[in-house]
């Protein structure tokens, strides 16, 4: 039940006014009739039933009297006649004469005669000595009032006349009345509802217009206005609503402009413009308060005819603006020039007179409880500003305050941004230049831009006793200052920053002033420190009285750090220069070596040119050797020629290989095959002693690599040949491969006598050889080919154990 009630209440609260009104009419009507119905029915029931009682007793009385004679004579026909007469009465349901013992003498239904009634009602009726009313409801025919009146003969009760009255007619009458009332109630109800609906609709139309207006506005349609009908409360409400909407629209537009522009003047102008529209004034002005002077200076004027207003300064206590400044409350003046409540100022009054101003109002612009300006409006007609106007203007003033605050914040931000920009510029400059003079120029420029001051950088001389200014190309070099003397010297001596607001009053200043020729100068000195090492002093000075703020100090400290870095960088740069010179010496040696390589090439050219005739010689010797006619000493001589020719050919080949290297022709190479083939070839060569044993240990994981098979064969040939040649009395040549991705290592080991440690570093040098017959190019060629294959070669040797050459080859050389 409670939940149901709550639901009903919620439904009611959610219903429209019209519904509520109708509902109330319905409820009150229903209540009225709900009370009326039982009361009327009660009264009617009582009236009707008492009428029934009256007539019932009367009829029963008549019945009894009429029956006396028949009862005395015991004349049935007369009794029945009387009963019939009584029965013909409209409401009589039955009439009967009962003997005292309940026997029926005559009855409306004639056949009842002779029966004896013993039911309680009949018994009571038969036994009664006086008029008796009993109410009962037989099974059919509706309720009955049973009247019994005794029939007396000579004082003796002989019978009872009994009449049953149907009260159905009365009940029907009561029901009819009830229905009439209900019908009436329903009629009134429906008429009431209709009337209430129509009336409520009529009355609520303006309210609904208001609601619609509110919805429109909530939807953002601020241009919507409610039609004002009549001057009653609703009309006033509509007017107030429209005014509120104007105000909201103005505020909204102002805030939109506030959010879209950062130009405070533009926003103030917009505020003034909307204020003008809002109160339909002729003039509007906004005067921000200047904190230093406590005066307000008009910044924006709209609707003015002359320039005069724009130049006015409002002083507290004077004129209407002054009154506002003094009191902090809005002031309305219906007739400004004749307003005795204000302190008049001839300047203001003249200006107002020129403009034709009659009625004015001034509203304070406050921010966080402080007055920050004035909003001033005026009419040229004698139309006083209302309190609603003042309310609207206050809201606009609030907007103006926000605008002014925004502007201030913006200004602050702008300065900070400028500072950060100069700092950034400086950092960039320092990373871009190594010239201390250039850095000083940048610092100087930044200081001038930010605070209109000058800057100078002093450097500590290596003797640590004097500071000299870094020349920046702007003159004013001057001389040095001694550490501990003057402001700069003090900074250098203490290693701490120093601020002097008024140099003129400071006794530490050395005269004549090293920076400027006297006058009032503010000074900021900052030590240039690098890891606690004093490099110099950054001096910043203002030409006008200036108060260095914390922001200034923190900014210039950054400058100082940058300058210190720059100075240090400059020092480091000098050191770098020195090492560079050393490098050049080394380069000279390199050139010499290059020159030697050129010689090698030259040799190669010569070898190439020598090769063809050498080939012819060799062929001829081969032919001569096959001639059987050459014998004896000639044949020996020819053998010598042949051997020497072969030697010459080898030499020329080496020279060619070294001097005219050809770039490797990369292709897939099975390293093991190459090694095996080379070993096989070596075994057939005469220079390989029979007693040398070959051993291989191939890693099965070694992949196919990319390389030049000819060149690789050359590499292995040279290495193997070297190895067997150091083992003329036998030994072991051992070749091992190992896959260590992404490289393949090949180790070549001989069990020869080993290489002397003094010789080992030079074995790859060209033309270096320990053998009389060698060209000294073999290992140089090996090293070059390996390097051209993107590989490396290393050598290890141990006296008496042997030598290890380790090749590390790329599987996939970069330049392949």
């Amino acid at each position: 039940v409670r939940r149901l009630l709550g639901r009903c209440r919620a439904l009611y609260q959610g219903a429209s006014l019209q519904t509520k009104f109708a509902l109330r009419v319905v409820l009150s009507t229903a209540l009225l009739f709900g009370v009326l119905l039982p009361v009327v029915l009660y009264i009617q029931t009582r009236a009707l039933l008492s009428a029934v009682e009256d007539s019932g007793f009367r009829v029963a009385e008549i019945f009894a009297r009429s029956s006396v004679q028949a009862v005395v004579a015991d004349d049935y026909l007369v009794m029945q006649h009387v009963v019939n007469g009584i029965s013909s009465e409209r409401r009589v349901r039955y009439a009967m004469l009962l003997k005292n013992d309940g026997e029926v003498l005559a009855h409306t239904r004639a056949l009842e005669r002779g029966r004896r009634y013993t039911d309680p009602i009949s018994a009571a009726a038969a036994a009664t000595d006086g008029p008796l009313l009993q109410r009962h409801s037989p099974r059919e025919g509706g309720p009955v009032y049973d009247f019994a009146v005794p029939v007396y003969v000579l004082g003796e009760k002989r019978a009872t006349a009994r009449v049953g009255f149907s009260i159905r007619a009365e009940q029907a009458e009561i029901a009819r009345t009830r229905n009439y009332i209900i019908f009436l109630g329903l009629s009134v109800l429906s008429l009431g509802v209709a009337w209430a609906s129509v009336e409520a609709g009529r009355m609520l139309r303006p309210v609904q217009a208001l609601v619609r207006g509110t919805r429109e506005i909530a939807r953002g349609n601020l241009g919507h206005r409610i039609p004002v009908a009549g001057g009653d409360e609703l009309g006033q409400l509509a007017m107030a609503f429209n005014r509120m909407t104007d105000s909201v629209q103005a505020l909204l537009e102002t805030s939109r402009e506030l959010s879209s522009t950062l130009d405070p003047d533009a926003v103030l102008a917009s505020v003034a413009g909307h204020a003008l529209d809002l109160v339909k004034a002729d003039l509007a002005a906004i005067a921000p308060l200047e904190r230093q002077t406590g005066e307000a200076r008009i910044k924006v004027v709209l609707g003015a005819r002359t320039e005069r207003l724009a130049t006015l300064t409002i002083r507290p206590g004077r004129g209407i603006g002054g009154a506002v400044l003094a009191s902090g409350e809005p002031v309305i003046s219906a007739d400004y020039l004749r307003d005795p409540g204000l302190v008049h100022d001839p300047g203001y009054d003249d200006a107002c007179r020129e403009e034709g101003i009659v009625s004015t109002v001034a509203v304070p612009i406050t921010l966080k409880g402080n007055i920050v300006g004035l909003l001033w409006m005026a009419h040229r007609s004698p139309r006083a500003f209302s309190h609603e106007d003042v309310d609207a203007l206050r809201r606009m003033a609030h907007q103006a305050a926000i605008a002014m605050e925004n502007a201030r914040l913006y200004d602050e931000t702008r300065v900070k941004t400028a500072r950060l920009e100069s700092l950034l510029g400086m950092s960039r400059a320092i990373t871009a230049t190594l010239e201390p003079g250039r850095i000083v120029a940048i610092v100087r420029q930044a200081v001038t831009d930010l605070m209109g001051g000058v800057a100078r950088v002093w450097v500590l001389r290596p003797d640590h006793t004097h500071l000299v200014p870094v020349p920046d190309g702007h003159g004013e070099d001057g001389g040095g200052v001694e550490v501990g003397h003057g402001l700069v010297g003090t900074v250098a001596a203490t290693g701490r920053l120093l601020i002097v607001d008024d140099v003129g009053d400071d006794r530490r200043v050395v005269r004549p002033d090293p920076v400027e020729g006297g006058g009032r100068v503010a000074f900021l000195g900052l030590p240039l420190l690098r890891e606690d090492r004093l490099l110099g002093v950054l001096e910043i000075a203002a030409r006008a009285p200036y108060r260095f703020t914390e922001d200034d100090v923190s900014l210039f400290s950054s400058f100082a750090q940058q300058a210190a870095i720059a100075l240090e960088n400059a020092g480091l740069f000098q050191a770098l220069k020195t090492s560079h010179e050393e490098l050049i010496t080394a380069q000279t040696e390199l050139v010499r070596k290059t020159r030697m390589a050129a010689m090698g090439q030259l040799a190669a050219v010569v070898a190439h040119e020598a090769r063809n005739p050498l080939g012819a010689v060799s062929n001829c010797v081969q032919l001569l050797r096959g001639n059987p006619h050459i014998t004896g000493e000639d044949a020996e001589l020819l053998a010598i020629v042949q051997t020497e020719t072969q030697r010459l050919n080898d030499i020329v080949s080496d020279f060619l290989a070294f001097g005219r290297p050809r770039p490797p022709q990369f292709q897939a190479v099975h390293l093991h095959d190459v090694i095996a083939a080379t070993l096989a070839a070596l075994r057939r060569d005469d220079r390989c002693p029979e007693s040398v044993a070959f051993a291989t240990k191939f890693d099965p994981d070694v992949p196919v690599i990319r390389g030049d098979p000819d060149q690789l064969r050359q590499v292995f040939w040279n290495l193997f040949l070297n190895a067997v040649e150091v083992m003329p009395r036998g030994g072991e040549l051992r070749v091992e491969t190992r896959h260590s991705p992404p490289r393949v290592d090949v180790v070549v080991h001989d069990s020869g006598p080993g290489i002397a440690a003094s010789v080992l570093p030079r074995i790859f040098e060209p033309f270096f050889t320990t053998r009389a017959a060698g060209t000294g190019l073999g290992l140089a060629i090996v090293q070059r080919i390996v390097e051209e294959h993107g590989g490396e070669i290393a050598v290890n040797s141990e006296q008496g154990v042997g030598t290890w050459f380790t090749l590390s080859l790329a599987v996939q050389p970069k330049n392949s």
Partner: protein
């Protein structure tokens, strides 16, 4: 909305007087008629509704004594008394436009009276078959408006009262004619519902358009509601008023008309078994019952004491008949002489539906008690139950009645008292009486017939199979706004409602 409502009200207000309200007379029926087909239904309920719908060839005057022109303007009777030539009214039309002519009359006569003819109707039973079937020998159309009827015997009284129905409607509706009755009467059928039958004036009625526009037969079975409706002015005509309501109808706006009916209520004795087979016992009981006093005190004016079996109104009524004088002492003495000094015990069967009869029974009981005859009352509900009980042998005494719509004495004598008649509840039988009736049936001379019926009545009173109690007086009531109300013996408006008009009160 308000303007519209005002306009509407104005329109209604202005239009109201322009359209005269139709004159509608409302007529009460206690129950719905069975079928509005004269060949199928002849009871009073049907006849009340058919009265303005159909017309027969001839009419009976209001007192039933004279035969007056109906659809036949005149007629000739042949020398043999069996050949009738009817000259039909010209220009008569049925409600459906079918012209009434000799051919149409022939079809109707055949339908009612000529078994075997094309139009004879037997299912549902033709109501006239028992009474008059086979009476007509031949029907001949002489020309458009002349018709000859040859009878088998000169029993003519009912024959030409057969209402004429439209042959066209017969073709159209056949056995369902009763649902859409079409006659030549001054009113035509409009519709029938469970509680109303509505008739409208027939504009082409040969006797001119009736004054009423419509007749509404309202069917209300509950008498108290009927009375309320009448008193409230929603019923114009009550053909029969129940006695109990008589007092209430004595108002200035109501006219009461008392018309003695052609009826006889009697106390019947079972003459076929002791003790009432002894005519002396019957005569003694008759002397012990004070009939006049009973009627005087308790009939509420709706009965007149009866002395013989035939009600007044017809030529056969014998005003000279007397009953033996009321004498309880004489009766007791007579019973003692016969040997019933110790008294008798008898039972009396009574239809308790009508209170007056119950009162009569009680009064008989009271009176007989005074002569030492104890009477036990056996109440029955309705005549049908009573007849069934008596036929089965219940009761020594019974109160019964007999009605007719014609004054013909045959109807009051033959069915109840002729030997072997089904309606002879007393089981009375007297060959002399039977012979007289038979003789009367074949006697053409009216005066001779009347004499025969007089003799028969005297024999019946002498034999006392019944104690005549009363003739019922029917009371009709109508609102005084009706004018031109004149009623027949059957409480039907004379000239079939055409004289009635509504004049206001």
């Amino acid at each position: 909305v308000i303007r519209l409502a005002v306009a509407l009200a104005l329109a209604v207000g202005l239009a109201g007087p322009a359209v005269a309200a139709p004159k509608v007379m409302t007529y009460h029926l206690a129950s719905a008629p069975d079928l509005l087909d004269p060949a199928k239904c002849s009871n009073l309920r049907c006849q009340r509704v058919m009265w303005p719908l159909y017309e027969p060839l001839v009419n009976l005057s209001g007192d039933l004594k004279a035969v007056t022109p109906g659809l036949a303007e005149s007629w000739d009777v042949g020398a043999d008394g069996l050949t009738y030539t009817f000259h039909l009214r010209k220009g008569v039309k049925f409600h459906d436009g079918t012209p009434f002519n000799a051919a149409a009359a022939k079809i109707n006569l055949e339908r009612n009276f000529l078994p075997g003819s094309a139009h004879y109707t037997a299912v549902p039973p033709n109501v006239r078959e028992r009474q008059l079937g086979g009476l007509i020998k031949d029907v001949a159309v002489l020309n458009e408006h002349t018709l000859t009827i040859v009878l088998k015997s000169p029993k003519v009284h009912l024959l030409f009262l057969a209402p004429m129905v439209s042959p066209g409607a017969l073709d159209r509706y056949g056995a369902r004619l009763g649902e859409s009755p079409v006659g030549t009467g001054p009113f035509r059928f409009v519709r029938a519902t469970a509680d109303e039958i509505r008739l409208a004036a027939f504009a082409d009625y040969w006797g001119g358009r009736p004054k009423l526009d419509e007749i509404s037969f309202r069917i209300i079975s509950r008498s108290d509601r009927t009375m309320d409706e009448f008193l409230a002015g929603r019923i114009d005509f009550l053909p029969e008023v129940e006695p109990v309501y008589l007092e209430r109808l004595r108002t200035p706006r109501t006219t009461l008309v008392r018309i003695p009916t052609l009826s006889i209520y009697y106390l019947g004795f079972r003459v076929d078994r002791p003790p009432l087979d002894d005519v002396r016992v019957r005569q003694a009981l008759a002397r012990a019952i004070d009939v006049e006093r009973m009627v005087l005190f308790n009939s509420r004016g709706m009965a007149v004491p009866a002395y013989g079996p035939i009600p007044p109104g017809g030529d056969a009524y014998d005003a000279g008949l007397k009953r033996s004088r009321y004498s309880p002492e004489g009766a007791r003495r007579q019973l003692a002489e016969i040997g019933h000094a110790a008294g008798l015990k008898l039972s009396l069967v009574v239809n308790a539906d009508w209170g007056f009869l119950a009162e009569l029974a009680q009064a008989v009981k009271v009176d007989l008690a005074k002569v030492g005859v104890a009477v036990e009352l056996v109440p029955k509900s309705g005549w049908k139950d009573l007849v069934a009980a008596v036929r089965q042998g219940t009761g020594d005494l019974f109160i019964y009645n007999w009605f007719s719509i014609f004054t013909d004495p045959e109807i009051f004598l033959a069915p109840n008292y002729e030997s072997g008649s089904a309606d002879n509840l007393t089981r009375y039988g007297n060959p002399v009486f039977d012979a007289l009736l038979q003789q009367a049936r074949v006697t053409g001379d009216p005066a001779a017939r009347l004499e025969l019926y007089r003799r028969a009545q005297r024999i019946l009173v002498e034999d006392s199979p019944i104690l005549p109690l009363f003739h019922e007086v029917r009371v009709s009531a109508y609102r005084t706004r009706l004018s031109g109300v004149e009623l027949t013996v059957h409480s039907q408006p004379v000239d079939r409602f055409t004289r009635i008009d509504i004049r206001g009160e």
